[in-house]
C-alpha cells in the first residue's frame, strides 16, 4: 500500500469508531498534560529559584559568625555557642578543599559627616582579594580596592543613607541633604560612645577621597559599604592612637578577632561538605543552601508526585490504546482476512494498525499540548495559593521583598515537542503487539468469521 492510502484508511477506521477513539485519545491527553505541566512547573521553580539567588546572594557562600546557632537534623534550634574567629581559623579554612576564597569580615559602625550634616555609616571590611571571587556587582564609578590602591570605599547603590542636620535648630524641622559622593567633602567617624578619646588628641576623622559606587542589584549589596581589611587596619591604628590608654588596648584587641568569616565554595554541591568539615572543627556555619534546601526538596517532591501521576496516566492510556486496538482487531478479523486474501502484504496490515495506534497518540498529544498551555496560563494566574508557598518560601526566611511577577509554570519550546513525542511513542508501543497479532490472523479463519 502507498503511504497516502495507509493514512487515509487509518484515519477512516479511527473515525468509524468515533466514541472509542475519543475516549482513548482522552487518556493520552491527560497523560501528556500531566507530563508537560510537571516539567513546566519544574522550570518555573528553577526560574524563581535563580531569581532568589540573585536577590539574596550567592548560593556557594558560607558564613561563620561569632555566635553559632545549633540546629538538630530537623532544623530545630537546640542551642548556641560563642565562636572565636581568629586569623588561624581563616588560614585553616583557606587550606580546605573546595574553598575558593575566604575572608574575615569586620562590621564597623560610625557616621559620615558632611559639613553640618551627618548620616549613619555601616561598613563591611573584607580582604580585597575576595571581591572578585565573591562576584561583587559592577561599579557605576571608581574601582574596587586593589594592590596599588587599597583605600577605596565602595558604596552600595542606596548608600550612604540620607544626610540630616547634626544640630538642627528645631527638632520639629530637621533639614535633609542629598550628598554627592564625588563632589561633597565627606568624613567618616567611628562611633564615639564605644571608646573614650584622649582629650589631648585630635578627633579621628577619615576624609573620603577615594570612593566607588555599585550599580543597583536589589540585593543586600545596595545597603552596605565595603572597605579593604589592610586599609582598615591602618586607619584603625590611627584611630586607636587618639584613644585613652586603657581604651586603646581594648580597641586594639578587637583586631585579633573577627566578627564573621565568609568563604566561597567552588561548587553548589560542595557547600554541605565544607559546612560539615567546619562543624568538625567546632564551628557552626550558615549558608543560603540551608534555608533553600527544604524549598528545593519540597518542590522536587511535588514534581516527583506530578511526574508519577503523569507516568501512571500515560501507562493507563497505553493500556487503553492497546485495549482499543485489540478490540478493533477482534471486530475487524474478517476485514483483515479479506485484505489478506486480496493480496495485502503482512507489512501493510501491521503498518495500518501501528499507524492507527500512533495516530491516537498523536491526536492525544496535540490536544494535550494545547491543554497544557491553557493549564499553564491558569496556574500562573490563579495558582498562587497552591504554588506560591513553595516558590516564595526561601524569600520569607530572608525577609526579601515579594516577587511581583512569578511564573509557576514555564513551557520552553522543547516541551510541547517532548510531550508530543512521548504520546506518539506510547501509542506506537502499545499498538505494536496488537498490530503483530493482527498479522497473525489466518485468512481462512478470518473469512469464515461472521460479523
Amino acid at each position: 500500500m502507498r503511504i497516502s492510502d495507509l493514512l487515509r484508511m487509518g484515519l477512516k477506521n479511527l473515525f468509524r469508531r468515533k466514541v472509542r477513539t475519543i475516549l482513548t485519545v482522552l487518556g493520552v491527553v491527560i497523560g501528556c498534560l500531566f507530563i508537560i505541566i510537571t516539567i513546566s512547573i519544574g522550570h518555573g521553580m528553577d526560574r524563581s529559584f535563580e531569581k532568589q539567588v540573585k536577590e539574596y546572594g550567592s548560593l556557594t557562600t558560607i558564613t561563620i559568625d561569632t555566635y553559632g546557632a545549633i540546629y538538630d537534623d530537623n532544623g530545630n534550634w537546640v542551642g548556641g555557642q560563642e565562636q572565636k574567629l581568629t586569623k588561624d581559623l581563616v588560614e585553616q579554612i583557606r587550606a580546605m578543599d573546595h574553598v575558593r576564597a575566604v575572608t574575615p569580615v569586620i562590621y564597623i559602625y560610625g557616621r559620615y559627616i558632611s559639613g553640618k550634616y551627618e548620616s549613619g555609616a555601616n561598613i563591611m571590611v573584607m580582604d580585597r582579594s575576595v571581591f572578585e571571587a565573591f562576584e561583587f556587582p559592577e561599579l557605576m564609578f571608581g574601582e574596587y580596592p586593589n594592590d596599588e590602591d587599597n583605600s577605596t570605599i565602595v558604596f552600595g547603590y542606596n548608600q550612604p543613607w540620607e544626610f540630616y542636620e547634626s544640630n538642627p535648630t528645631s527638632w520639629m524641622n530637621v533639614k535633609y541633604k542629598q550628598v554627592d559622593l564625588q563632589k561633597d567633602k565627606i568624613f567618616f567617624k567611628f562611633d564615639e560612645w564605644r571608646y573614650q578619646r584622649n582629650p589631648r588628641r585630635k578627633e579621628f576623622m577619615l576624609p573620603l577621597t577615594n570612593v566607588a559606587k555599585m550599580v543597583e542589584t536589589k540585593a543586600e549589596y545596595d545597603y552596605n559599604a565595603y572597605m579593604d581589611l589592610e586599609y582598615f587596619e591602618k586607619i584603625y591604628m590611627q584611630y586607636c592612637n587618639t584613644l585613652t590608654l586603657d581604651d586603646r588596648k581594648k580597641a586594639m584587641k578587637e583586631l585579633d578577632e573577627y566578627q564573621q568569616i565568609m568563604l566561597n565554595v567552588d561548587n553548589i554541591d560542595h557547600v554541605e561538605e565544607v559546612q560539615d568539615k567546619i562543624k568538625e572543627m567546632g564551628y557552626q556555619s550558615n549558608s543560603l543552601m540551608q534555608y533553600l534546601k527544604p524549598t528545593i526538596e519540597a518542590s522536587k517532591t511535588l514534581q516527583l508526585i506530578f511526574l508519577f501521576l503523569g507516568a501512571v496516566s500515560m501507562f493507563v492510556s497505553a493500556i487503553s490504546i492497546a485495549n482499543t486496538m485489540v478490540m478493533s482487531i477482534y471486530e475487524r478479523t474478517k476485514e483483515i482476512g479479506i485484505m489478506k486474501v486480496l493480496g495485502c502484504v503482512v507489512k501493510d496490515i501491521r503498518m495500518l494498525f501501528l499507524y492507527e495506534a500512533g495516530m491516537i497518540g498523536f491526536i492525544g498529544g496535540v490536544i494535550g499540548v494545547g491543554f497544557s498551555y491553557l493549564a499553564s496560563y491558569l496556574i500562573n494566574k490563579y495558582g498562587k495559593p497552591l504554588f506560591g508557598a513553595l516558590v516564595n518560601r526561601g524569600g520569607s526566611y530572608l525577609g526579601g521583598t515579594e516577587v511581583a511577577e512569578v511564573s509557576y509554570s514555564i513551557i520552553p519550546l522543547y516541551l510541547p515537542l517532548l510531550g508530543l513525542g512521548i504520546s506518539v511513542v506510547v501509542g506506537l508501543l502499545s499498538g505494536y503487539f496488537p498490530a503483530r497479532r493482527a498479522t497473525k490472523i489466518s485468512a481462512i479463519e478470518a473469512i469464515r468469521t461472521e460479523n
Binding site: 486480496l342 493480496g343 473469512i447
Partner: protein
C-alpha cells in the same frame, strides 16, 4: 501482454499432484482431501462439484494458498504455492488471483467503488488510475449507478456483482469462486454465473468454481465430481465424455468463446444437464 502464452491451449496453469489435507480434531483425523491429482488448463472454466463436506471447498482453499497442504504439491504457473513466503504469496495473489466468495466478503465500511479498488490499493496503483478501473469494472457488471453505495445498502445480487468486479478488476489470470451463488435466488444466480463466465471468457481467464448445485456446474467446461475428498469422476462438458481418472483429453478448447464479450452473455449456449 500475456496473450501469447494464454493462447497456448495445452498449457496447464494449475497442477494438483497427490494433494492431501488432514485436519486433526483432538485425537481424530479427518481426511478432507485425499490424494487428489488433476490439472487446470489456461482459460478453462473448471467446476469442483460435490455435496457439502465433500472437501471441495478445502481443495479450493488449498489451491488458493489460503490453507496449507498436508502432503502433495500444487503448482500454479510453475510456482509451488505451498513453498511461497507469506509476502510472496500476497504478491502472487495481487497479480495472479481473484476471489469470489459465497458470502461476498465485501468490507461494509467501504462503498462499492472502494471495495473494488481495494486489490489495486494493495498493488500500489495510484488513486486516479484505480478509481477509473474500478468505476469501469462496476459499470461492466451493471452497477454504474451504485458506485457510492455501501454493501449494506445493496441486494445480495448487487453485492455479488461488486464481489465479481473486485475479483476481476486487477485482471487476474485465475479467479477462484467459492459457491458464488450460494446465497442468491436462482434467477440472480444465473445472472451472476453468466457474468462470471462472460468476463472470464472475454479475457481468457481461468476459473475454478466450487458448487454443490448441479445446474451451476453445467456452466463449466469441465466438472470434477468430488466425494469424500476424492475425485469421483471428471466430466468434460465440451467433449461430452466422462472419465474416471484425472487425465482428461483436451477437446474443443476455450478458443471458441474467446471472442465473446459481456454483451453476448445472454446468448451463451445453454448447457443441458444430462
Amino acid at each position: 501482454m500475456l496473450k501469447q502464452s494464454r493462447n497456448n491451449k495445452s498449457e496447464n496453469i494449475i497442477e494438483v499432484k497427490n494433494a492431501r489435507k488432514i485436519y486433526r480434531m483432538g485425537k481424530e483425523k479427518i481426511v478432507a482431501v485425499d490424494d487428489v491429482s488433476f490439472n487446470v488448463k489456461r482459460g478453462e472454466f473448471l467446476c469442483l462439484y460435490g455435496a457439502s463436506g465433500s472437501g471441495k471447498s478445502t481443495l479450493l482453499n488449498l489451491m488458493a494458498g489460503i490453507e496449507k497442504l498436508t502432503a502433495g504439491q500444487i503448482m500454479i504457473k510453475g510456482h509451488n504455492i505451498q513453498r511461497m513466503s507469506e509476502r510472496g504469496l500476497a504478491k502472487f495473489r495481487q497479480n495472479t488471483l481473484g476471489f469470489v466468495f459465497q458470502s461476498y466478503n465485501l468490507l461494509n465500511s467501504m462503498t462499492a467503488l472502494e471495495n473494488v479498488e481495494l486489490p489495486l490499493v494493495f498493488k500500489h496503483m495510484n488513486r486516479k488510475k484505480r478509481r477509473r478501473l474500478a468505476r469501469q469494472m462496476l459499470i461492466n457488471v451493471g452497477l454504474g449507478d451504485r458506485l457510492k453505495h455501501k454493501p449494506t445498502e445493496m441486494s445480495g445480487g448487487q453485492q455479488q456483482r461488486v464481489g465479481i468486479a473486485r475479483a476481476f478488476v486487477s485482471n487476474p489470470e485465475i479467479v477462484f469462486a467459492d459457491e458464488p451463488t450460494g446465497n442468491l435466488d436462482s434467477k440472480t444466480s444465473r445472472e451472476v454465473m453468466d457474468l462470471i463466465k462472460g468476463m472470464a471468457k472475454a479475457n481468457h481467464q481461468t476459473i475454478v468454481m466450487v458448487t454443490h448445485d448441479k445446474d451451476l456446474a453445467m456452466y463449466a467446461d469441465r466438472i470434477i465430481h468430488i466425494r469424500d475428498g476424492r475425485i469421483e469422476k471428471i466430466v468434460d462438458q465440451l467433449a461430452g465424455n466422462t472419465a474416471e481418472t484425472a487425465e482428461t483429453a483436451e477437446a474443443g478448447g476455450p478458443e471458441e468463446n474467446t471472442g465473446q464479450t459481456e454483451q453476448g452473455l445472454e446468448a451463451l449456449p445453454a448447457h443441458n444437464p444430462g
